[in-house]
């Protein structure tokens, strides 16, 4: 390792999001003559190991989401190591970041559900509690609920952790409770796909009786026909690498670069005419 290397700290480099971000970082780093040193400390999620990246031995560090604790980030700031965060922000630390526009994305999905699909009883599946993206999307959902004057009881805010399993379990419990709803907005596309599967297994017609949408996009979402807002994850990686390299080259940067998302309307949201009110 040397000043010709950029460090990347992530929990698991094999996850879809992290893999795409790293691909973007690698592309820009390579074009600027840097190699990557990746510290992926929880590839085995049952046995995470401590972060071992020597940040003093690299030119700068990209941290993906909340993979590095605030204490380590502060150490890097104190050591004047250039750092950029991807999809994360830590209040009180002068570290710039790059993120997709969570507020715009949720606003687009809610507008689609309410205005274009005519839905009023929306269920929200949250992401990981306390995680920056999750909190932003949850807050944005709350704002749009007020904007459209929707009645969303607390039991319609489902526990999720960006995994299909937890999303499916939460939705199964809601269905078993007999709750009435006509739309599901998942804080990410994997949970959205799980919601479509769970609803169909339970006898709901998607999108006839329930519209389902999810944040973020990938090949799996396309294959499942899920309506999403596309956040170009590799682009986030590329932009974060540019931000980091600019800092290394002496440009002081503060704040967050936000990238717009794009609605992708597929097969799981727009109800099929008069069939939309019924349940199979």
């Amino acid at each position: 390792m040397s000043a010709t290397h950029l460090g990347v700290i992530t929990n698991n480099q094999h996850q879809v999001f992290q893999r795409a971000v790293i691909a973007g970082i690698r592309q820009v780093a390579g074009a600027h003559g840097y190699d990557l040193v990746i510290d992926s400390y929880a590839d085995d999620e049952t046995q995470p190991r401590p972060i071992t990246l020597d940040y003093r031995a690299v030119a700068g560090v990209c941290v993906i989401a909340d993979a590095a604790p605030a204490g380590l980030l502060r150490e890097m700031v104190d050591a004047r190591t250039p750092v950029s965060l991807v999809s994360h922000q830590v209040s009180g630390l002068p570290i710039p970041s790059v993120s997709a526009d969570n507020y715009q994305g949720i606003a687009e999905l809610m507008r689609h559900l309410v205005i274009e699909c005519g839905r009023r009883r929306v269920v929200f599946i949250r992401g990981v509690g306390g995680q920056w993206d999750s909190e932003g999307r949850k807050t944005a959902f709350g704002r749009e609920v007020m904007r459209y004057n929707l009645d969303v009881p607390p039991e319609h805010l489902l526990r999720g952790d960006f995994s299909a399993e937890v999303a499916a379990r939460s939705l199964q419990a809601l269905i078993a409770s007999g709750a009435q709803f006509d739309a599901v907005l998942a804080a990410d596309y994997r949970m959205g796909i799980a919601a479509v599967d769970t609803l169909r297994r339970a006898g709901y017609v998607v999108p006839g009786s329930v519209s389902v949408v999810g944040f973020g996009d990938a090949e799996e979402a396309e294959a499942a026909g899920l309506t999403t807002v596309a956040a170009d994850i590799a682009e986030q990686g590329r932009r974060a690498a540019r931000q980091l390299i600019s800092q290394i080259e002496g440009l002081p940067i503060r704040g967050m670069t936000v990238l717009s998302v794009r609605p992708v309307i597929r097969d799981t949201s727009l109800p099929d005419g008069p069939a939309r009110a019924g349940r199979r």
């Binding site: 704002r143 600019s246 800092q247 940067i253 670069t257 936000v258």
Partner: protein, 386 residues
């Protein structure tokens, strides 16, 4: 600058003006080859050829294919196309608590935004934060930077590029455009935030182009912006300190968010039970909207009061300027169409039939309007586009 005043212009100003004429003609699709440009702009053919060659060298135009030959059977002309990706522009909005900048191509397409929380910073620290915010987008440039547009609420001398007085930032006589131009070695333009919202809404908004377009922006204070004949009129700005009749206070005390918060709390206590959040809970215009939509008496009373105060401003503007269109902008737009409809109805009632032509009203709700307006203004000043 028109030909009649050209004699006052320096050679370089005239050249710049002619470049802008040509670029604009191509940008707007009025002409797409040298002969048509000469005819359209009344410039001499050698001048057109020389300037077009310069614009091609700079990458702002490309030659692409050939058009139809003239009736006389002349050579088919080489077609010219404007290249929006040849340069990028940064627009910056500086408000009391944060800075928001946007990076766009020459057609206004936004590539990225950058937000910086000011965290209570004031004075020179804000100037440093402006630089650190712009740097966030300098890092993301995909093409050379053409220029930077800046928007600030306060008393602004747009011509000199100076913020005369912005107490919320602890700024007085700050030559902001010169400072930013010096930092990046690029032209920088300054205007009042609300004037830029008017420009953004006029250029990129849904309303058809009109002779006189006004924006009333309500947030922590109250501002008015005007676009007249397609150009910003820099006489607008802050109107919040204006007093409204005896004993009613200023517009800021009636419409500024800190006072709206206080009024919401007073009405909540007066009309219990209320759906409005309690004193120690977060409150936004969306909370007020939600409560009003559900028939909450305190929220409905507040919305009615606000619509009357807005109507007062709309009526003044209508009476003084007879604008074709008035747009309401700023965080207050979260109160939605009912607020606007009420305000428009009061305005029509108060203005009366009179000698005035009908005025239309709309909400300007798109995000980042100040920064987008700063981009539009910079493009207008630098290239004569929009």
């Amino acid at each position: 600058m028109r030909a009649s005043t050209a004699n006052k212009a320096t050679h370089s100003q005239l050249r710049q003006h002619n470049r802008q004429l040509l670029l604009r003609a191509i940008y707007e699709g009025v002409a797409d080859n040298r002969a048509a440009l000469a005819q359209e702009t009344q410039l001499a053919k050698p001048t057109v050829s020389e300037l077009i060659g310069e614009l091609i060298d700079e990458g702002l135009l490309v030659e692409e294919g050939r058009g139809q030959s003239t009736r006389g059977g002349g050579k088919r002309p080489r077609l010219l196309r404007f290249v929006p990706a040849a340069r990028q522009v940064i627009g910056v909005s500086i408000s009391e608590d944060h800075i928001m900048a946007a990076l766009a191509y020459l057609d206004g397409r936004i590539v990225a935004r950058h937000y910086t929380d000011l965290g209570g910073a004031r004075g020179e620290d804000v100037i440093a934060a402006v630089g650190e915010t712009i740097n966030g987008l300098i890092a993301q440039l995909d093409a050379p930077l053409l220029c930077i547009g800046l928007g600030v609420a306060g008393v602004v001398d747009a011509g000199a590029g100076t913020v005369i007085h912005a107490p919320h930032l602890d700024w007085a006589q700050v030559p902001l455009a010169r400072l930013v131009a010096g930092m990046y070695d690029t032209p920088a333009y300054l205007a009042h935030s609300t004037a830029l919202v008017a420009m953004a809404e006029y250029v990129y908004g849904p309303t058809e182009p009109v002779h006189c377009f006004a924006v009333v922006r309500v947030g922590s204070g109250v501002g008015v912006g005007l676009v007249i004949n397609g150009a910003i009129y820099h006489g607008g700005g802050e109107i919040g300190p204006l007093r409204v009749g005896d004993g009613l206070g200023s517009l800021d005390t009636l419409l500024g968010w800190p006072c709206v918060r206080q009024r919401a709390e007073a009405l909540r206590r007066e009309h219990t039970p209320s759906l409005l959040p309690g004193e120690d809970e977060p409150l936004s215009y969306l909370h007020i909207r939600h409560a009003a939509d559900n028939g909450d008496r305190a929220a409905l009373a507040l919305r009615d009061e606000l619509s009357r105060h807005l109507a007062q401003v709309f009526a003044w503007i209508t009476g003084l300027l007879t604008p074709d269109h008035v747009a309401l902008a700023g965080p207050i737009t979260d109160l939605g169409e009912p607020l606007l409809e009420q305000a428009a109805a009061y305005t029509r009632e108060w203005v009366g039939a009179g000698p005035l032509r009908p005025v239309s009203f709309s909400l300007a709700e798109a995000p980042s309007l100040v920064a987008v307006g700063a981009i539009a203004q910079a493009l207008h000043r630098e290239l004569g586009l929009v």
